[in-house]
């Protein structure tokens, strides 16, 4: 049943995600770079039409084409590329004042954006024609795409004005003597049901040659025995010259005795008709789908802009702050330890048979003199307790506490209750430390304001690709994020793998909290909100075993993400709260900085992450591939730079970076999906329990091979 519920949850996500992606593609298609205004050549050496052919073409049976001229002394003003919210109303005003009708060849996607303008044109008695959906050159696209372009435009017109039109002006067409055989063949193939309306006079207003020139280009030739179709543009650019020229052309043509007509009036055809209910419904559906798509893409665009700005700011801040923190740490490092409190190391262990000996023995090799080691066997079903027992002759001050299986937090609390040290170091049962790790993690407690210290957890088993990815992630998380948190006093997680706490502080928190599955984050936030400073000590290294399978990684990260959300929810009232000064005199800024940071970069960014990738693909296909690739390149270069900087700070080899580009394509998306599932689990109230990861005891692998070795 639980499996079915989980599958249904993903089904909902899949359906909603598909609808979202589809809407982005719709938005991308309808608002991609629409072809520029323009007309074809004035004439061609091999015109497909006979000399003197009329500007209106109608296709008949057996590939026949009939051309038609306008009656003498008539002028049909035609406007392409609209509707445009700035220029179309001005044109309409000029026409209305002169009581002149016109024919508007509209671009479908612009009709969807400004349906009211098309209605206004129809109300004014003007005719409407099709000018494709995105102003494409019909001859340079597939027959299928041409068909879609024409049909979508018809639907858009039907939705906007309740009519259909059989007039078509192909973009980039001009006068009849410029029609090539290829043009004619394509129009016949995709638009045989339309009247193709060309022009006899091309004003070339789209080139903005000046009002006088437009008027000269547009005016009917003196002595012409047929009527004139004049081509203007009411969209696709600044049409101020067109507005002025139209007024003059109307005045001069009238003086010469011309009568103004629409194209249907001129050819005596009922080119416009009320749309059928089906076509109107299809048009409304298209309009609705497009509106939803545009709205969603705008919201997402704003989110992306905000998140990009935050990410860049974060990266810049990290570089500056991490450098400062490292310098401070390096200055402090070589000093002998004047402060040497008693220390208890508590190791909770559940089925850690393969690795617990390495953990205990690494602690036994520690250079710290006053050390108590407590292993809490949390009801293991393997030989963990027996393995610890075999170490009794080799390790002094080792104690084993056994309890029925109660969970990690309760095991830690059991160990804390049994310990005696002033400082308590909590480490995982699959983690090994270097000889000076304890000395280094204890050093910051010399400052009475420090309540806890985060060590530097490093991936021990980094052989495979998964291990390398996690290695890079750990190094970035510890050397950039935690150094930033250290200097700004807003640490959110002292990791369970290696962390140290003042006993008084853990007494005040009543031990390790059990309400969340990220007990380390929960405990750290609790301590921070009490006003204790939480430091980061990068030189206190601990080598831990990372999941070696994708399934294991998914489980671990699911628990982390779910637990982080639980911790953030538990402490939600502290979000935005002012800085707190604690018992030791330190001031922490968790409410104003730490918790919002956790929500934005730990929850919100991963949740929106998949959409960012889809947005990039849409940008690549529909808008500007160069700009999109450039943006993607800049983002990856930033990640690369940050990773290289973090590795350098940690004394790691830079050659690991070869795995980073692949991480951006596979690993990142998996991590995003983990957070999505955790969020779904949290929203639907799913109970999550610890999943024990399979251990191989390989935590110390990299320690043995590491260039930083055991002393750092």
């Amino acid at each position: 049943m639980r499996g079915l519920v989980a599958q249904l949850r993903w089904f909902v996500v899949a359906i909603v995600g598909t609808a979202f992606v589809a809407s982005l593609f719709v938005a991308g298609y309808t608002h991609r770079l629409i072809g520029d205004s323009g007309t074809g050549p004035a004439s061609t050496a091999r015109s497909a039409l006979p000399p003197g052919a009329g500007p209106v073409l109608t296709f008949g049976a057996r590939n026949s084409v009939r051309t038609q001229n306008l009656p003498p002394h008539t002028v049909a003003l035609t406007f392409d590329d609209g509707p445009d919210p700035t220029w179309t109303p001005q044109i309409l005003r000029v026409l209305s004042q002169a009581h002149v009708p016109a024919t508007f060849f509209v671009v479908g996607s612009r009709v969807l954006d400004h349906p009211g303008l098309v209605r206004a044109e129809v109300r004014a008695g003007d005719a409407i024609g099709v000018h494709t959906f995105t102003h494409i050159d019909l001859t340079s696209h597939s027959v299928t795409q041409d068909g879609i372009e024409l049909s979508l435009t018809e639907k858009a017109i039907a939705s906007a004005a309740g009519i259909t039109s059989s007039l078509l002006r192909p973009p980039y067409s001009a006068t009849p003597d410029a029609v090539t055989p290829a043009d004619l063949a394509r129009w016949q193939k995709v638009a045989s049901a339309f009247h193709i309306v060309l022009a006899t006079r091309d004003s070339e207003d789209w080139q903005r040659p000046g009002v006088a020139q437009i008027v000269r280009n547009a005016l009917p030739r003196p002595g012409s025995s047929t009527g004139t179709v004049i081509m203007f543009h009411d969209g696709g650019g600044n049409r101020a010259e067109t507005v002025a020229a139209v007024r003059t052309v109307i005045r001069l043509a009238r003086q010469q005795g011309y009568r103004f007509v629409t194209v249907p009036q001129a050819i005596h055809r009922a080119a416009m008709a009320p749309a059928t209910r089906t076509v109107r419904w299809e048009g409304d559906a298209l309009f609705l789908a497009e509106r939803i798509a545009i709205w969603l893409s705008r919201v997402l665009g704003l989110c992306l802009l905000l998140l990009t700005a935050l990410s860049v700011l974060r990266a810049a801040l990290m570089v500056v702050v991490a450098h400062r923190q490292r310098r401070r740490e390096t200055r402090q490092a070589p000093r002998p330890l004047p402060f040497m409190p008693s220390v208890s190391v508590i190791v909770p262990a559940f089925n850690e048979e393969v690795g617990i000996a390495s953990t205990v023995l690494s602690l036994a090799r520690s250079d710290y003199p006053r050390l108590e080691i407590i292993v809490v066997d949390d009801g293991s079903t393997d030989g963990t307790a027996g393995m610890v027992a075999t170490l009794r002759d080799r390790v002094s001050s080792l104690r084993l506490v056994r309890q029925p299986n109660s969970g990690k937090a309760r095991a830690l609390n059991r160990g804390i209750a049994q310990s005696s040290g002033q400082i308590l170091v909590l480490i995982d049962g699959d983690t090994v430390v270097e000889p000076d790790t304890i000395s280094r993690i204890v050093a910051p407690f010399a400052d009475p304001g420090v309540g806890a210290v985060s060590g530097n957890a490093k991936v021990g088993n980094r052989g495979g690709l998964l291990g390398r990815w996690q290695h890079i992630e750990y190094v970035m998380g510890f050397n950039l994020d935690r150094r930033l948190f250290d200097l700004t006093n807003c640490m959110q997680t002292v990791p369970g793998a290696i962390g140290a706490f003042r006993r008084d502080v853990l007494r005040a928190t009543r031990g390790v909290p059990t309400e969340t599955l990220a007990e380390d984050t929960d405990l750290t936030i609790t301590i921070g909100l009490m006003g204790w400073r939480i430091a980061y000590q990068g030189t206190a290294r601990a080598w831990t075993e990372a999941p070696s399978t994708l399934r294991g990684l998914w489980r671990q990260r699911y628990r982390w993400a779910y637990g982080t959300m639980q911790a953030a929810w538990k402490h939600r009232r502290a979000i935005g709260s002012p800085a707190v000064t604690g018992p030791g005199g330190a001031t922490t800024r968790l409410g104003r900085i730490g918790l919002p940071y956790l929500l934005v970069f730990g929850v919100l960014l991963p949740l929106l992450g998949p959409l960012v990738d889809v947005f990039m693909v849409v940008g690549l296909v529909f808008t500007s591939p160069t700009e999109t690739l450039l943006l993607w390149g800049v983002f990856n270069a930033m990640q690369f730079g940050l990773a290289a900087y973090a590795l350098w700070l940690d004394g790691e080899r830079l050659r690991t970076l070869w795995a980073l580009p692949i991480q951006q394509i596979v690993y990142r998306q998996v991590m995003y999906l983990v957070v999505v599932e955790a969020a779904l689990g949290a929203l639907t109230g799913r109970r999550l329990r610890w999943h024990k990861l399979a251990r191989t005891g390989s935590a110390g692998e990299a320690l043995e091979a590491s260039p930083v070795g055991s002393s750092g």
């Binding site: 909902v12 359906i15 909603v16 598909t18 609808a19 589809a22 809407s23 719709v26 099709v130 027959v143 299928t144 041409d146 068909g147 879609i148 024409l150 049909s151 979508l152 018809e154 639907k155 259909t164 039109s165 059989s166 638009a191 049901a193 339309f194 059928t276 076509v279 299809e282 559906a285 609705l288 789908a289 170490l391 009794r392 390790v395 002094s396 001050s397 080792l398 104690r399 084993l400 506490v401 056994r402 309890q403 029925p404 109660s406 969970g407 937090a409 059991r414 059990t514 309400e515 969340t516 637990g563 959300m565 639980q566 929810w569 538990k570 929203l683 639907t684 109230g685 799913r686 109970r687």
Partner: protein
């Protein structure tokens, strides 16, 4: 010198662990039902939207009809 000692702790008799990691957990089942209704509604809306898009595209293929 070995100073190791082993302490076995008996299970707490009355203490329940039901609250462990319980934040977000739907104890009453009400939330599950609410989300079931909401999930169904959202899925249907998304499906309707997809159908709308598919219909718009399917009815737009082929030569222009000048209908």
């Amino acid at each position: 010198m070995s100073t190791m000692s082993t302490i076995s702790v008996e299970p707490p008799e009355v203490q329940s662990h039901a609250s462990d990691g319980a934040i977000f957990v739907d104890q009453t089942g009400v939330r599950r039902r609410v989300w079931a209704v909401l999930g169904t509604t959202v899925s249907l809306a998304a499906l309707a939207y997809l159908a709308l898009l598919v219909a718009a595209v399917l009815t737009s293929t082929g030569p222009g009809s000048a209908s």
